[in-house]
């Protein structure tokens, strides 16, 4: 849809203004990563930075983790609703981490700030900078996997002014200082977020001065229209229909019961609906997903299908509708616990599971299905200092209609994140690795096989606490059109001893000499294994991705309990 030329702005100026907005978001990102104290921010990129117009439509965002982008879209509306527009002034900054409004667990703290034209009046734009905070006094240090209500998950801010007219509210910052286990890092990161907001405000003020509010408004209108047109054009090539899928989350962290998840995707008449009806009600443990987080997951799926190459704006998401009943797994309500955000990771591929049957040329079979994370916490015998080092392990990716799934990559929902080197982990913690190798035969067989998973054998050289987070160890990754489903991810605690057991998510004390083995899942296969080219099969055997021991391809079937060793 080409906008009529009678608009007061032309396509070149619009593109210039669009670049200025993206550049402002990128400069905010650089300011944040340059001044943050916490490695999670500057290395894992656990943050989300967005710029909104006065109607709270997304205009530009900085590159970051896909599942962080999108949560701001939800939280900015809730925060502005809560504090009201009337009282806002230049230099104000509002803090929020109330999970049900902020679209994330309590550790993700979002700062929202209005931007005013110099002559006062109504805010002309809003900036959001979301970042992971090291600690806000939740029940456990590091990560929480078994809370039973929000109040065990740390200090909560619904939408609280931390700056008024450019002046910090000391009382609030002192409350944070006295409630955090690592106040220096948290307040250091808070300063970094403020610096990012100030950068954004300066850049937008310059933009206003250069182009004037009316032209910028007109440009934003065209930028959003362009985004919508691009999404609709892509959608026109996608088949219409209604598709459902079900799967199970391992457990809620409190009981051992699998948690049912269901999604129905409806693509009809230019609308793309994602509905989680049929999923579990809210559960007792912290796997409930705030609706803003559900929205963010759906946006990642929709973006990947329609406009993966474009920097996001609100126009791209206009054809998308997301629905989940309040009080259910995908729409947590107070006081449901929400700390373990793995549900959003697993839900991304639940949506793909519904769609892939209808459009296998666009979507792969399931990856290993999860982000198998582990963490060790303790005091290092060399330095006497506390450490908490985590790593997210790779899984195999699903096969596609055109090629094998990629071997050993981070889960698609955070595929740009890097693992932690062995030499770094062995230096910083008393973990010693006996093995880090691919698992032969772990990719689902098929005309194209799934990527292989990874085996990591850990020996502890000193006492400490070991934590794993993985929520899809009880059901196999799904395959496509006759491909095979591989074994699910699993962790084997203390193998070869009387204490051996196979687990998913666990927090356990370990002693020097103990061992753990993590086995991550490969991806699902595509097409019948007998259709695989003999050359590809021979290469797999020669490279050891497949042993050729004649194991019959397992064609999936019902949910299985994780295999023990």
């Amino acid at each position: 849809m080409v906008a009529p030329h009678t608009e007061p702005i032309d396509g070149a100026t619009t593109e210039v203004i669009r670049h200025h907005f993206i550049s402002a978001a990128e400069e905010m990102r650089m300011t944040l990563t340059r001044t943050a104290c916490s490695p999670v921010i500057y290395e894992v990129r656990d943050f989300g930075i967005s710029i909104y117009d006065s109607r709270l439509d997304l205009v530009a965002e900085a590159t970051g983790l896909t599942r962080f982008l999108g949560a701001n879209d939800y939280s900015v509306r809730k925060v502005i609703d809560y504090v009201g527009r009337e009282g806002l002034g230049p230099g104000d900054v509002i803090l929020s981490n109330y999970p049900y409004w902020n679209g994330a667990h309590t550790s993700d703290a979002t700062l929202t700030a209005p931007v005013f034209a110099q002559d006062g009046g109504q805010p002309f734009a809003f900036l959001c900078v979301r970042a992971h905070w090291a600690d806000l006094g939740a029940k456990d240090a590091g990560y929480v996997i078994d809370s039973t209500d929000m109040h065990q998950e740390g200090l909560v801010f619904p939408g609280t002014f931390v700056f008024r007219r450019g002046e910090p509210i000391r009382e609030i910052l002192e409350i944070i200082r006295f409630n955090s286990r690592s106040p220096d890092i948290v307040l250091g990161d808070f300063d970094a977020q403020i610096a990012a907001i100030r950068t954004g405000q300066r850049r937008l003020a310059g933009l206003l001065e250069k182009f004037g509010g009316d032209r910028i408004d007109a440009a934003i209108g065209r930028i959003l229209a362009h985004g919508e047109a691009a999404a609709r054009r892509a959608l026109a090539d996608i088949p219409q229909g209604v598709w459902s899928a079900t799967d199970f989350l391992d457990d809620d962290g409190i009981t051992d019961e699998p948690v049912p998840m269901k999604v129905t995707v409806t693509h009809r008449d230019g609308r793309f609906g994602i509905d989680f009806a049929g999923s579990s009600p809210c559960v007792a443990g912290p796997v409930n997903l705030p609706f803003g987080s559900t929205m963010a997951t759906c946006k990642v799926a929709f973006k990947a299908l329609t406009t993966p190459g474009e920097p996001s704006n609100g126009g791209h998401m206009r054809p998308l509708d997301v629905h989940a009943e309040p009080g259910t797994l995908f729409h947590a309500t107070y006081p449901a616990p929400t700390f373990t955000q793995w549900t959003g990771i697993v839900a991304l591929e639940l949506i793909f599971k519904a769609l892939a049957q209808a459009m296998p040329e666009r979507l792969p079979a399931s990856s290993g299905g999860d982000v198998p994370g582990f963490m060790m916490i303790g005091v290092h015998p060399d330095t006497g200092s506390a450490y908490a080092i985590s790593n997210n392990d790779a899984v195999g990716w699903g096969a596609t209609t055109r090629h094998d799934g990629a071997d050993t990559l981070n889960h698609p929902c955070q595929s740009i994140v890097r693992n932690t080197p062995i030499e770094v982990m062995e230096t910083r913690t008393p973990m010693f690795f006996d093995r880090l190798e691919i698992i032969p035969d772990s990719g689902g067989a098929g005309r194209y096989r799934g990527g292989v998973g990874l085996r990591r054998d850990i020996r502890f050289l000193a006492d400490g606490e070991f934590l794993t987070v993985m929520k899809k160890t009880k059901t196999r990754p799904w395959a496509l059109l006759g491909g095979a489903s591989p074994d699910a991810t699993r962790t084997i605690l203390f193998p070869g001893t009387s204490r051996q057991r196979t687990v998913g998510t666990i927090r356990v004390a370990v002693a020097a000499g103990d061992t753990v083995s993590i086995r991550t899942a490969g991806g699902g296969g595509f097409g019948l294994p007998r259709e695989r080219s003999p050359a590809d099969s021979a290469a797999d055997i020669e490279d050891g991705y497949v042993t050729g021991s004649g194991a019959a391809p397992d064609l999936g079937g019902p949910a299985v309990k994780a295999a023990s060793k």
Binding site: H19, H20, R222, T400, I416, T427
Partner: protein, 686 residues
């Protein structure tokens, strides 16, 4: 060694080979181009030298910039490599850091590119060190030889990369394995990780070692052939090859560590920018290199380009020293199109073939160069000194069809709009490198070179309110000129992780002296006389718990208090805060420099008369201050003299590039002939 009177620099680019000759007696430069010959790169080099006509027997120093190693990787033409690593860790190279490139973050059907080394060519052998370098498991010596035989005999491997965990602490197991393989299989080339990059992180070290093994044979062949052909023409001077991270190395040294040359494409220009920045006393300088397909910017602080100790080639990390360069896909060949109401520019490029429409080689999509022609900046009959006629009508038709009609504007507005968009992207890139370093762009000067640098630079300066824009002599050949200033450089590093509190200056001094011994020996091998050699010490430090580190210069007396203070000051400058945490060493670095006599910057003679001597007429062109066409005074650069002043709007033409200054800007010619563009004081500012 001879004492010829000429120095020669030859830089291979994607389209052209640039050759620059310096007559050391007169200080005169001469510059020629020849076409790149991808199938046989040495051919293009010799053609360019022949075009210059420099007598090779009278050349004292030949400095060469080549992207041969890079191309060998991009085109997968390297050696068949095998890897020997620890048992149990066979897949370190294949798993890597398990991430997909940022550009593919939404691509859930991402396929990993075929690896440089397939899994069958990777073997694990017993032997293991712990994080302190203690032997946990003795090296299985029979296993090493067995594995090497298996890789070479069963899989035809020609070169073996050896990388063991924690070899950066104690290389003994790696060195022993290499010796065993060399003894058993003398024809197999061996690359050892602790020789190539003695730094932590097993995947990055393995990847660097694999790339070394992969490109070494092809690099050796190329250097031997080129050197042989030049020696046939009686060349008997020194032969240097540019390094990615500054300076150059002798051809012999480059053959031993070719990974150091792999990303040297932009290095010549940056070496030149550092030299000019220091000579002209510009503390903060932004190098701004605009070619046909891309734009490279790099921050130069106090005469030093911002360095990085890790680079990326495709998806392969390389632990080499390099420059921290931001590249965007915007250059003279970038294509513009109209997309659902927005005017887009780049990153697609028309490249050399078919090139812009106005080149008349079959290009049909309008490019930046076509817009520049339509805006009046380029003279259709004076391009490349009149060697090439530009098709202005064709460029205008292309702009009308692709942009002006769908936008419902005139072709001129379309062309100006294209420049607006290009400028917005460019300004974003320049602003980001300054923001990233915590610097105010308004205090920086911009050095504009490459064919299109002088055309865009003043526009960027105007938009960003930069202090000044400097256009060097022969800006399109500046990279080759910069090579003439390159010193002989070698870098040595060693990861050593320890709390500074737990370390004695004595122990650190011992490590430095060991590394400096290697560094000094390298310079000596490369023919640097001891009185021309200098060694500088750097220490990478971080707060305990951080992953990234900052490099600080350390003095020879290793004053820890001063070192920590320097670290904390730098941390505050870069990151805005200091921390309470203890300070830890990460990497110990030594840079060895064998200083080269710099090309003299000759002062231009004064010329009689005023600047009108250089004026050749006027041309209608688009002024971005007035946003309209107006008369630009046209000057020819070779008639300008020091002290000449020109007020915009004006065009300064020199055949291979044109400097465009707009209303509100003025230019002064400095004593060396550089064009210094500034905003007119008290001038109208938008």
């Amino acid at each position: 060694m001879t004492t010829g009177k000429f120095r020669l620099a030859v830089d291979i680019g994607g389209t052209f080979v640039d050759a620059m000759e310096l007559d050391t007696q007169t200080g005169q430069f001469r510059f020629q181009k020849a076409s790149t010959t991808p199938r046989k790169p040495s051919e293009g080099v010799l053609n360019a030298i022949e075009a210059l006509g420099t007598p090779l027997d009278d050349v004292d120093l030949f400095t060469h910039g080549t992207t041969l190693g890079l191309n060998a990787v991009l085109e997968r033409r390297g050696a068949k490599v095998g890897i020997i690593t620890n048992e149990g860790f066979r897949d370190i190279f294949l798993v890597g850091r398990a991430n997909v490139p940022d550009a593919h973050m939404y691509d859930f059907q991402y396929a990993r590119p075929a690896p440089l080394v397939p899994r069958r060519c990777i073997a694990g052998v017993r032997g293991r060190l712990d994080y302190k370098g203690r032997v946990v498991d003795e090296l299985d010596e029979d296993g090493v030889v067995k594995a090497a035989r298996h890789l070479t005999e069963d899989h035809g491997v020609e070169a073996i990369a050896i990388c063991f965990l924690f070899s950066y602490i104690d290389p003994a197991q790696e060195q022993r394995a290499a010796a065993l393989i060399r003894e058993a299989l003398p024809r197999v080339r061996v690359s050892v990780s602790s020789n190539i990059a003695r730094e932590h992180r097993e995947y990055e070290r393995t990847s660097t070692t694999v790339l070394d093994a992969y490109i070494r044979p092809i690099f050796e062949r190329y250097v031997d052939e080129l050197e042989g052909r030049m020696r046939e023409s009686a060349f008997s001077g020194r032969f240097l090859i540019m390094r990615s991270g500054g300076g150059a190395m002798t051809a012999e040294a480059a053959k031993l560590s070719p990974t150091n040359t792999i990303l040297s494409g932009p290095a010549g220009g940056i070496a030149g920018a550092c030299f000019l920045g220091a000579t002209l006393d510009r503390q903060d300088l932004i190098s701004f290199d605009v070619g046909g397909t891309s734009l490279d910017v790099c921050m130069i602080e106090g005469g030093q380009a911002v360095a990085a100790f890790e680079a990326q080639l495709e998806n392969h990390p390389l632990l080499i020293s390099t420059y921290d360069i931001r590249t965007i896909g915007a250059g003279g060949g970038s294509i513009a199109w109209f997309d659902e109401g927005l005017l887009r520019v780049g990153p697609q490029s028309a490249g050399a073939e078919p090139g812009p429409i106005c080149y008349g080689r079959g290009g049909t999509e309008p490019t930046v160069t076509d817009a520049a022609l339509c805006l009046g900046y380029l003279d259709p009959d004076g391009f490349l000194g009149g060697d090439m006629h530009l098709d202005r009508d064709g460029a205008e038709r292309g702009l009308v069809n692709s942009i002006a009609e769908p936008m419902n504007v005139t072709f001129e507005q379309a062309a100006a709009g294209l420049f607006d968009v290009l400028l917005a992207k460019t300004v974003g890139a320049v602003r980001q490198i300054t923001v990233e370093r915590g610097r105010d762009p308004r205090e920086s000067a911009l050095l504009a070179y490459g064919g299109a640098g002088p055309l865009l630079g003043p526009l960027v300066g105007r938009e960003m309110d930069l202090r000044e824009i400097i256009v060097p002599n022969a800006p399109s050949g500046f990279s080759a000129w910069g090579m003439l200033s390159a010193d002989v450089v070698d870098d040595y590093s060693r990861t050593h992780i320890q709390l500074l509190d737990d370390m004695s200056p004595h122990a650190l001094e011992a490590i430095y002296q060991e590394i400096e011994g290697e560094a000094a020996a390298s310079l000596q091998r490369q023919g640097v006389r001891p009185d021309g050699a200098s060694l500088t010490r750097q220490l990478e430090l971080r707060y305990l718990g951080q992953e990234h580190a900052l490099a600080v210069q350390v003095s020879s007396n290793l004053d820890f208090a001063a070192t920590v203070q320097a670290f904390e000051e730098q941390h505050e400058a870069r990151y805005g805060h200091r921390m309470e945490a203890k300070v830890q060493t990460l990497t110990i670095r030594v840079r060895a420099i064998g200083s080269t006599t710099k090309p003299p910057l000759f002062k231009l003679p004064a010329k009689s008369g005023d600047v009108s001597r250089a004026m050749v007429g006027t041309r209608q062109a688009f002024c971005f201050q007035r946003r309209d066409k107006t008369d630009f005074a046209v000057f020819t650069r070779d008639k300008l003299a020091p002290g000449d002043r020109i007020s915009g709007p004006a065009l300064i033409d020199e055949g291979s590039s044109v400097t465009v200054i707009h209303t509100g800007q003025s230019l002064v010619v400095d004593v060396y002939g550089h064009l210094i563009v500034t905003a007119l004081s008290e001038g109208p500012k938008k």
